[in-house]
Subunit: 272 residues, 2 copies
DNA sequence: GCTTGACCCTCCCGCTACGGGAGGCTTTAC
DNA sequence: GTAAAGCCTCCCGTAGCGGGAGGGTCAAGC
């Protein structure tokens, strides 16, 4: 018969834990002095204690341990519980793996943005440029521009891990529309994915009038005006859809400072 | 200004959570009516709420979120926190992966034991057999047999994932010794591992008198007597170390029922 | 027999991030 | 004016203990 302190040393469980196990009924001492309330443990308790320790080390809950103790005499009986517990652990594992991947994506996106910004920092002038063809997944929608965020959210959720570049939006109207606008938020993706509701295809190359707009979205019209004036000046006829590429916009976590947003406007020139 | 219920719908956080965030100071409503105590939230709160949601989805603690909110205006500022958090998640990931491996090992060992037992169930008679050479890691010790368990524990901890078969023990004394016995608990392993304090080598093949003992260890002497009598009868001279292979003994979790233990005794015959 | 120090006891609070519910105001709609 | 819905605070519960307060018990030495 060992006192709780001696037993604690013998089995490697803390005194606090032993008292708690007693209270929860998973490890009842062989004898409790009714006068002093002192707990005394025997050989059989030691065995149970070892079992509890082994199972706690495997992250079993006390309730599960109680079940195992009740139904098993043998490692063999415990196999079903072990398998079951393993499944639960595997779920947690997947969960954490998923979170780590998400963080990874956030960080690399952030890095990408920083590089893009650094690269484009010099030129805020109107340019003519040939865009590269790219594979995109988009969600065509009709409504107000402020609902665009939800569209991006939906697309991102569906093609999440295949995203290969900056968010962009295609505009199928030739003008600014308060309501009933026809536009398509999309993401460049690495490889063709099937996703219901999404339009996945290669966006063709096009010669464009481009301009990087710096500042909040509600001042975009000024930059549009400049680009359109330039095109008119050159006598270009413009094509649809026009594009906006969100080089630096609201982050995945923070909205950030709208004064620092960078948006590239791309107005395709109708080939002559 | 939205009431807490409306705001809850707007940001996707529960009313309970919002009150809790207020109490913890991570999301203070724009206005609190001093008379009624009603909380009212504004546009800026909505932004903060989104940040909190994004970070909670990544399993950030509220304390960490508070720090991020205090020090970051931008996804870019948050990168360091994300990296840090990722490290913590990676630790958990490793932890769970480790546990799953441990469970796997337990289960496969258990299965192995079952198969071994099924195979050996028929024969409890004395046999002569050539043992196969095998790679083992052992810990030679001097003392009492009851300390053998600790020896197995040490060996198992060091070569854990390389264990390839049943625990066994080599006996270097020609007789039973109460104290000062010279023996070596060891495990067969898959490939040579370096482990300080352990003796890793190939155990040579040997022709043996073998016998499977069923029951607790304190009745082993009867089986030894039978095997020794057989050897004497045949006129064999015996070699050292003799071996015991623990086909079915105390499990990794449960001690199990000693009456069901199976132990193979192997007494090497000195080549003539 | 007495003291002392080590050991043990039973509460109670703390941690995370809320959820559930009781009991009581306030606001809003009809 | 009234009723329903919404809001408030306060308290308890979660898992598995750790820390500590305040007080009883045990064994040994004098």
């Amino acid at each position: 018969m060992l006192s709780i302190g001696e037993f604690s040393k013998a089995c490697g469980l803390t005194v606090k834990a032993l008292r708690f196990y007693h209270e929860r009924g998973v490890l009842t001492p062989a004898k409790v002095d009714p006068h002093s309330g002192y707990r005394y443990y025997d050989e059989h308790n030691l065995e149970t204690a070892h079992v509890i320790r082994a199972l706690r080390d495997l992250d079993f809950s006390l309730d599960d341990i109680a079940q195992v103790l009740e139904n098993c005499d043998d490692d063999r009986d415990a196999v079903a519980y072990l398998e079951n517990h393993k499944r639960q652990l595997a779920e947690k594992l997947d969960h954490y793996r998923d979170l780590i991947h998400k963080i990874d994506r956030l960080v690399t996106q952030q890095q990408q943005t920083r590089e893009d910004v650094a690269m484009n920092q010099a030129s805020f002038e109107i340019e003519e440029r040939q865009t590269e063809p790219m594979l995109v997944a988009g969600l065509r929608m009709t409504g107000r521009y402020c609902d665009m965020g939800k569209g991006f959210g939906q697309v991102a959720r569906k093609v999440g891990r295949h995203i290969a570049g900056k968010a962009m939006c295609l505009y199928y109207d030739g003008e600014y529309k308060e309501e009933g606008a026809d536009f398509e938020p999309c993401f460049p993706i690495r490889k063709a994915v099937e996703a219901e509701g999404l339009h996945v295809r290669e966006l063709p190359a096009a010669r464009c009038v481009t301009l990087i707009h710096r500042g909040p979205y509600d001042t975009l019209s000024r930059s549009y005006a400049r680009a359109l004036a330039y095109a008119k000046d050159k006598g270009y006829e413009l094509d649809l859809p026009s594009r906006e590429v969100y080089l630096k916009g609201p982050g995945m976590i923070f909205k950030g400072n709208p004064k620092k947003y960078l948006t590239e406007i791309q107005l395709p020139i109708k080939p002559t």
